[in-house]
Amino acid sequence: MRLRRFTTAILVLGLLAACTPAASPTPSASLRPVKLLLGFQPDVQFAPFYLAQQAGYYADAGLDVTIEYKSDADLARLVGDGQAQFGVMDATDVMISRTAGIPIKYVATLYDQFPVALILPAGGPSGGPTPAFLAKLAGKRIGTPGKYGSSWHALLAVLAVGGLTAADVTIREYPQFNQTDGLLNGDVDLITGFRNNEPLRLAARGMQVDLITVEQVAPLPGPGMIVGDALLSSDPAIVKAFAAATVRAQATISANPQQGLDAAIVAVPTIASDRTTALAVLTATIELWRGSADAPTGAIDQNIWAQGYATMRKLGFVDGSVPLDEMTRQVLTGG
């Protein structure tokens, strides 16, 4: 009887021990739970966040990060209202939502280069994106996910350089984000897409393409990290810590893309179904993070923001009622 009780106690204790999560080497003060909202759906491009979670960069910063996926519209509102602490958002959408009254700020750059480009089949008329060239886009059929978001803003900004508006072209919407299909089967003449994504997928399906990027004609700031005003004023330290940990993960992946891919596969197993393309996308994405620097720094380029803001005002997306300096806050000093 006593032996049985003893054995049972041992077994129960053993089970409990097995159930406790692997303890960190330094069990210190408990981590602060925070929620991070990423856009739309899991993707290999979110590798820095997955890596920062798994490799403990966030834990080192005192944060226990939970990731959820939301559409941009919900994301801004939730972060602004404090229901989530951090988010990733397009800079142009930050301008619009901030003007619409949502209390968020862009605190660190993720993509030094604006990811959206106009993509057209290679071998078409050459001559670079001069205004004259762009003016020839009149009457063309253009595929884009929808009349919202950075793709739409970029498209209108580029058309404006050629003196055109949306009325001068035929827009075809692809709410399922499959505008590459339209380009492949000839339903449209060019599409908007992400430089690190669509061209690779098109190449995989046999089409070589040319790109028209915005920094050539109408500079716009790229996506970055956002926080709510309330959190930023009440606890700037954790905002800085979060941004720093994320940039640290970006740097690690820049030096070793495979590490990023592995972290992404752990978080999103379906990525493993096409490792080659995923790695290619991630490698291209790293280029966009870095821009012209050696490694991603998270710094906010006020110059590009000013130009982008002016463009957005000209296009009528913002009315200027909220000044630019209320939209961004550099939390990572010294780059």
Binding site: S71, D72, A73, A76, R77, G80, D81, D93, I96, S97, A100, G101, I102, P103, G146, K147, Y148, G149, W152, I171, E173, P175, Q176
Partner: protein
């Protein structure tokens, strides 16, 4: 007049309750806008013409979709009501079509039918179809068999029985189905627009929500849809009062 006064009073009460809710919970305008914020935004949207531009499109989808859906549903409903064999053969497909979420089917239908107004009218008609067909079937079957025998003794043919007894007997139930159907037509038009339209109140909801982060404008679109639904429903009720014996 009394009815109108009662409606206005209840509307006022609703607006007050809404305002109190936003004040008590302290929700910001970008999550739940207060009624006066929505009202001001509505005035701007009407003035700029953007509201009418989208409303006109959705209204035409609703009216055409409802007309098509109701007409076909009444026809099919009569067939279902008159013949047990027809019901046994058709009802699995009708029920299946109703059970599959239209939101999932709509993009496919949009592609199959060329992505224009026709596709959206068809999607709307599909959503409207089921309750009206079932109501018609039930109504047809509720025809008094004693009256049917009396009419047969006068030499009525089956089609005369349908036209002069079964359909008039079924009208109260059919109108019940039409009331439900007309409100579903509003939903149907919005769902159809989400599958791939470029104008319409459903599109305006998306533009306001995703493109402009303009929650008050989204509420303006929602309120407009509600007004359309209420108005059409009232028209059906008026028609019912005229056509159905009380």
């Amino acid at each position: 007049m009394k009815r109108l006064a009662a409606a206005l009073v209840s509307l006022a009460a609703f607006l007050v309750a809404w305002k109190v809710l936003t004040v008590l919970t302290g929700t910001p305008d970008y999550i739940l806008p207060a009624p006066e914020v929505v009202g001001a935004r509505a005035v701007r949207a009407i003035g700029s013409g953007i509201l009418w531009e989208h409303t006109a499109v959705t209204l035409s989808e609703i009216l055409l979709g409802f007309a098509l859906g109701a007409a076909s549903a009444i026809g099919v409903g009569v067939a279902l009501g008159k013949s047990v064999v027809v019901e046994r053969v058709l009802s699995p497909y009708i029920v299946a079509a109703q059970s599959v979420p239209i939101l999932a089917l709509a993009p496919l239908l949009d592609i199959w039918f060329g992505g224009g107004l026709l596709a959206r009218v068809l999607i709307c008609a599909l959503i409207v179809f089921f309750p009206i067909a079932i109501a018609t079937m039930v109504g047809i079957r509720s025809a008094d068999p004693l009256l049917a025998e009396m009419l047969r003794s006068l030499g009525a043919s089956p089609s005369q029985l349908t036209a002069r007894l079964e359909i008039p007997s079924a009208l109260p139930v059919i109108f019940g189905g039409l009331r439900v159907g007309v409100t579903l037509a509003v939903i149907g038009a919005v769902v159809a627009e989400w599958a791939g339209a470029s104008t319409g109140l459903g599109v305006l909801i998306n533009i306001a929500n995703q493109g402009l982060f303009d929650t008050p404008l989204m509420f303006v679109a929602l309120a407009t849809l509600a007004v359309i639904g209420i108005s059409l429903h009232s028209l059906v009720v008026v028609a019912e009062r005229r056509l159905v014996l009380r």
